[in-house]
């Protein structure tokens, strides 16, 4: 009877079992049961350790706020945390993460894509292990390109030409849509133009955003709307889902978006099923195509009482076979390069296996502990440039001034 009662008590009691690991993460895409099965496999492999996973709100900003408040308050209530690619340097600088450099000794870090490894490195130490990866893609309408005899564009200029030609002949179809609302997604979009023109935001810890290359790239984005008219003005308020709906209803030739949209387009009943292709994003300079890196990393709370057990879970979840399982069951894209040659994955998820080229070229947003402050400067300035309130030159001059001010904070 006693055992029965104990068994019935909720797992979230104040008295935490000494060997219960708490794993915090955002909502799992797809079927949660599949993810649960993976955690049970970990428990089987590690007798004596149980894992309780706790899901945070799906908004990335809210997750960030949760961690900042709880980690600043030195909360030991969770052990393993899942972090967006832009948070690691900030959390590491604040002293909230355990140094995990010893988990990837020697050259093991080279098994992973370089982008995420760069993003989890702060002052030459690793503070998290890349778990799954994301990056910007160019979606295009295979059927329409074939109909008018075009191949997927390699440069931005080619994209403009193709989009103009097709949207002038197909009624009610936009040329090219992307995410231009004042939010983090806009920064992801703009950086892809900067990088593919040889520009950047920070270099050696200094702001270099006010450059000829960047002014040109940002001006081109504005021109897409006003001069070439291949992008409708509605992008200045569009997020991922806005563009996904438009493209998914067959109302655009090209779209910039993340890989998640693919599966939705390919489900039964989708108007664009079987009509879609993806490619690397176009570029201004030959060979400079760049995607903004997204994805999630696993780290360990500095105040965790179970660091050794937590390390086991991080290693387990980022192991090749676990990443493969997650790719096959819920479509998470592995961070380990070798898996993209895996026979099973190629057969079951050919789309994912084909993304190798994109991920190897994916670049991380400015790696800085002050990124959340820097992006708060970039978002309104970029928005001002694409909606025509300020010229690109004015916007970037103002951004550079403000970013330099932020970087001086430690003086």
């Amino acid at each position: 009877m006693c055992i029965l009662i104990a068994g019935c008590s909720p797992r979230g009691d104040h008295q935490k079992n000494a060997t219960t690991l708490v794993f915090k993460h955002g909502k799992i895409a797809g079927d949660p049961a599949k993810f649960d099965a993976l955690l049970r496999r970990f428990e089987k492999e590690n007798p004596g350790i149980t894992v309780r996973d706790e899901v945070l709100p799906s908004s990335t900003d809210e997750q960030h706020q949760f961690y900042v408040i709880n980690l600043e308050g030195k909360s030991p209530d969770f052990d393993v945390i899942s972090m967006d690619v832009i948070w690691v340097p900030e959390f590491a600088r604040a002293g909230w993460l355990r140094d995990l450099s010893h988990l990837l000794p020697g050259k093991e870090g080279e098994d992973f894509f370089p982008g995420p490894i760069e993003a989890v490195t702060y002052q030459d130490r690793l503070y998290a292990i890349p778990w799954y990866i994301d990056a910007g893609l160019l979606y295009f309408r295979k059927d329409l390109l074939r109909k008018y005899g075009f191949s997927p564009p390699e440069t931005w200029q080619e994209l403009v030409g193709t989009a103009e030609y097709i949207s002038n002949r197909e009624k009610g179809i936009y040329g090219f849509i992307w995410q231009g609302k004042q939010y983090e997604g806009l920064v992801c979009n703009v950086l892809e133009y900067f990088w593919s023109n040889g520009g950047d935001v920070l270099k050696d810890g200094k702001a270099v955003i006010d450059s000829k290359e960047n002014i040109q790239a940002l001006g081109f984005m504005r021109d897409l709307i006003t001069k070439y008219k291949v992008t409708p003005p509605l992008v200045t308020n569009a997020v991922e889902e806005t563009t996904r709906h438009i493209f998914g209803n067959g109302k655009a030739v090209f779209m910039r978006n993340w890989p998640y949209a693919w599966n939705i387009f390919e489900t039964q009943g989708s108007p664009v099923k079987g009509k879609i292709g993806v490619a690397l994003l176009p570029t201004f300079l030959k060979g400079m195509s760049a995607s903004t890196l997204g994805g999630w990393q696993l780290g360990i709370n500095r105040y965790s009482r179970l660091p050794a057990e937590a390390e086991k879970l991080v290693l387990f979840l980022t192991r090749a076979d676990s990443q493969k399982t997650l790719a096959l069951t819920i479509g998470y894209k592995p961070t380990r390069k070798a898996l993209y040659g895996d026979k099973d994955l190629k057969k079951a998820q050919p789309f994912i296996a084909g993304l190798y080229e994109v991920f190897i070229k994916a670049r991380s947003r400015p790696v800085s502990p002050y990124y959340t402050m820097i992006t708060q400067v970039m978002q309104p300035e970029f928005s001002a440039a694409i909606s025509g309130i300020r010229t690109p030159a004015e916007a970037l001059r103002s951004a550079e001034k403000q970013i330099s001010h932020i970087l001086r904070v430690e003086e």
Binding site: Q182, T236, N237
Partner: protein, 283 residues
């Protein structure tokens, strides 16, 4: 004398409580505003008036000030005009007066965040009902000119009912005899409105203005959910800017400076209105 003494003793606990929950936080925010403070990186330095000097040169602050002022002036004046008209209409006797009054209240009863989300969809360029009805492709929330006005319009839709309730209550206490007497004297309806309704409604109108101006000046949730401050900060109000600085980028020092300035503005507005109101009462 003794009566006054014991009176002081009676209010002492309440005063202590007030000191604790209002005066102490206010002073601690003012103290914070004089520091450069990044809590999570253990950066904390007393910098005197540096933050205030930076604020004076901060284009983003002045932009937020401009947006807030525009939002407040536009929404409050529209709400007052509309609210007054609707209140006058509802004050007349007609069938279904009860249900009509209840219906007017609906927008006020919906939680702000819900109505903001609702409007976000209605303003949608491609799928929104607004563009469908007028047969256009206006980029309501993405166009710098429309976005702030879209926010004003939503606020007017949401808060006019509040103005209507207060003004209806005010209208009900105006003695009917005054109207009857005026009619006998042959006054037209404009004269009656100008010389009876408006003067007698003035205290209520002032109270409406106080509530609405202060609320509009501090507006946060409605606009934050609708646009997040975009495009290009054309809808970023002072409260949204302060929130971003305080809670998204965790700059407690400068964020507090912004809050102090908002507090100061609100203080000035309140004093202004209270002055008018008390002058009005004395007469």
């Amino acid at each position: 004398m003794t009566g006054r003494d014991s009176g002081n003793k009676f209010v002492a606990p309440a005063l202590m409580l007030l000191l604790l929950v209002t005066v102490y936080p206010v002073f601690s925010v003012i103290y914070l505003s004089l520091q450069r403070k990044l809590l999570i990186f253990d950066i904390s330095k007393f910098v005197g008036l540096d933050n205030y000097v930076f604020l004076l040169q901060d284009d983003r602050f002045w932009n937020a000030m401009k947006n807030t002022t525009y939002f407040t002036a536009a929404s409050v004046s529209l709400e007052l005009l509309l609210g007054l008209s609707i209140a006058m209409l509802l004050h007349r006797s007609f069938r279904l007066k009860g249900p009509a009054r209840a219906l007017v209240l609906i927008p006020w009863a919906i939680p702000t965040v819900v109505s903001a989300k609702m409007w976000e969809w209605m303003y949608n360029t491609d799928f929104g009902i607004l563009n469908y009805l007028i047969g256009s492709k206006v980029n309501w929330l993405g166009d710098p000119f429309w976005a702030i006005n879209a926010a004003v319009f939503m606020d007017v839709w949401k808060t006019t009912p509040f103005v209507v309730i207060l003004l209806t209550a005010g209208l009900q206490v105006i003695p009917r005899e005054l109207y009857q007497a005026a009619k006998i004297d042959g006054a037209g309806s404009w004269d009656i409105f100008k010389s009876i309704t408006l003067p007698l409604l003035k205290p209520v109108i002032l109270i409406v203005l106080i509530f609405r101006t202060l609320d509009a000046f501090r507006v946060f949730d409605a606009v934050y959910v609708l646009t997040g401050g975009g495009p290009a900060n054309t809808t970023e109000t002072l409260s949204i800017y302060a929130y971003k600085v305080l809670f998204q980028t965790l700059q407690f020092g400068y964020g507090s400076t912004l809050s102090v300035v908002v507090f100061f503005c609100i203080g000035c507005i309140s004093i202004f209105y209270v002055q008018i109101l008390s002058r009005d009462m004395k007469r």
